[in-house]
């Protein structure tokens, strides 16, 4: 029973990681842009949500309606004014640019919000839970998991079947050839990053509802997102979802073995996948 409970809690935790990872799956997995500021942008959005919650008259979930558009705009600006200047076959310039952005964002957030941990005020949803047999399940983690599932399915369908998705995959495969076929790569990349950061906006509200956030937390979210994408396989959105599940379950099981082992266990599973199946679980065979 203890292990079943660990797996269930791990899957629920994986739902949160999946939300971190989806934007990464799009930017790193499909567009091959390494965004080191991924986690910091999410923390920024969480802190904005916490600050807005104090002044806006609607509930916590209503915050999503405000934060997601802010996130979309941030994503669009990030791509249009920074990343589009440095994208190309070489991932190094985007890595360096976003590394700088990451440090700048962290300092900016420390200045504005101090190093204190913050979270959204307790709500009914955050504390509600129900019981299946002898296992307690929180309502919020279930909502997070379902949201992650819907987002993954939606993003996968958009990439596969929409005009935007085709154009993005074409631009990622061969930017110049895509332009020769009428695709405007910069515009399509700006939209893609707006979507990626928009999803992060959703994750940011959930993260601040579930637990606390502080300006230096971004690097942990970045690592989880990277690991999920790589475990799942580059370019596969469902792969990133699966990778997030693997990571969540590994951490939950590690935690049961020893309370100090949780996060380490997740990293070990990541290394094990990297060593045995470096192309990821769901990667297409070349």
């Amino acid at each position: 029973m203890q292990w079943l409970d660990a797996v269930i809690q791990g899957v629920l935790l994986g739902g949160m990681y999946a939300q971190y990872a989806l934007g990464m799956a799009l930017m790193f997995g499909v567009m091959r842009i390494v965004n080191i500021a991924h986690g910091d942008v999410m923390i920024l959005l969480s802190l904005i949500a916490v600050s807005l919650a104090g002044v806006l008259p609607f509930g916590n979930l209503g915050l999503i309606v405000v934060i997601v558009p802010i996130a979309v705009v941030i994503g669009w600006i990030l791509q249009k004014f920074i990343l589009n200047k440095v994208v190309g076959a070489d991932p190094l310039p985007s890595l360096i640019a976003t590394f700088g952005l990451s440090i700048a964002l962290q300092n900016f957030m420390l200045e504005l919000w101090s190093a204190d941990t913050r979270s959204l005020p307790n709500s009914d949803i955050a504390s509600a839970s129900f019981q299946i047999g002898s296992i307690y399940v929180g309502l919020l983690p279930v909502i997070v998991l379902i949201t992650a599932l819907v987002l993954t399915g939606g993003l996968d369908a958009v990439l596969r079947f929409s005009r935007f998705g085709r154009g993005l995959r074409a631009a990622a495969a061969d930017t110049e050839a895509a332009a020769m076929t009428g695709v405007d790569p910069k515009r399509i990349y700006a939209i893609a990053t707006a979507i990626a950061v928009g999803i992060l906006g959703l994750a940011a509200v959930f993260a601040a509802l579930r637990a606390t956030v502080s300006p230096s937390d971004g690097s942990a979210q970045l690592i989880y997102a990277f690991e999920a994408v790589i475990i799942g396989g580059m370019g596969s959105v469902w792969g990133a979802f699966l990778g997030a599940m693997v990571l969540g379950v590994a951490q939950a099981i590690g935690l049961r073995i020893d309370p100090g082992l949780g996060i380490l266990f997740g990293h070990l599973v990541f290394l094990a996948v990297l060593a045995t199946r470096p192309e990821g679980i769901m990667a297409r065979k070349k």
Binding site: R163, R166, G167, R169, A170, A173, D174, E176, A177, A178, A179, M180, T181, G182, V183, D184, P185, G235, R284
Partner: protein
């Protein structure tokens, strides 16, 4: 009808950064015409096509499309105006199916499929093997089949001018014949074709007029059937510079 060529270049210069590859190219092509561009390896043929197509920087006045200066317009906007390219090395979208490769062109074409001259059905009639393989990943096709997809992809942009960069390269003679057989069909729609070709005999046969390029300059031009093999050889290898 005006006698403005559909596409023309005027003293076009260009290259890569500090390296100049083209030294003042004057070229023009009319609707429905096939113009061949021949020249040795490294002469600057691909550079010329890329310069026309907005993939390399050129001055605005160096390229005119339907009489309007368009030099330096980004490639994706050139497609909207009515230029398409079959690039050197095909450059298909790996990881996508044949159908998806074609859909990218349809998504961004000058005209919707059905309003322009080209439809997938029409192209599948010309290249029946593509109908059979439409759901297969592009990397599962042979070189010749991939070239057919590359040509189809460019045609589905519904271009008024089609730029073809060495579409016969590396293909079996039978496949080359199959591909070259559809050129008259393309011209019949009034589409102008710029044909970069290494095979001089093939280029001469398939074109109305011909330009020969040597080290970034045009060394010979004229009506394909009127130019002698000796003149071509001289212009091609640079023994003497004949400008007809």
């Amino acid at each position: 009808m005006s006698d403005t060529p559909i596409l023309s270049t005027h003293g076009l210069t260009g290259g890569y950064g500090d390296f100049q590859a083209l030294f003042g190219i004057d070229m023009h092509i009319d609707a429905g015409e096939v113009v061949a561009l021949i020249g040795a390896n490294g002469a600057g043929k691909s550079t010329f096509l890329k310069s026309i197509f907005g993939l390399l920087p050129v001055d605005r006045d160096m390229v005119k499309f339907e009489g309007n200066p368009v030099g330096g317009t980004p490639a994706h906007m050139m497609v909207r105006r009515g230029i398409a390219m079959v690039p050197e090395g095909r450059r298909l979208f790996v990881g996508m199916t044949v159908e998806e490769n074609l859909r990218i062109a349809i998504d961004n074409a000058r005209l919707p499929e059905g309003e322009g001259p080209w439809t997938r059905e029409h192209l599948f009639d010309l290249f029946p093997i593509l109908r059979e393989k439409r759901r297969q990943p592009i990397e599962d096709l042979s070189g010749g089949q991939q070239q057919m997809v590359a040509i189809s992809r460019a045609l589905l942009c519904q271009p008024k001018v089609l730029l073809c960069d060495e579409i016969s390269l590396g293909l079996a003679p039978k496949v080359i014949r199959e591909i070259y057989e559809i050129l008259p069909e393309i011209s019949a729609f009034g589409t102008a074709i710029v044909l970069v070709e290494q095979d001089v005999g093939l280029a001469r046969e398939a074109s109305n007029r011909l330009y020969c390029m040597l080290e970034g300059r045009i060394t010979l031009t004229g009506v394909s059937q009127d130019i002698s093999r000796d003149a071509i050889a001289a212009a091609y290898f640079g023994a003497s510079h004949a400008v007809a």
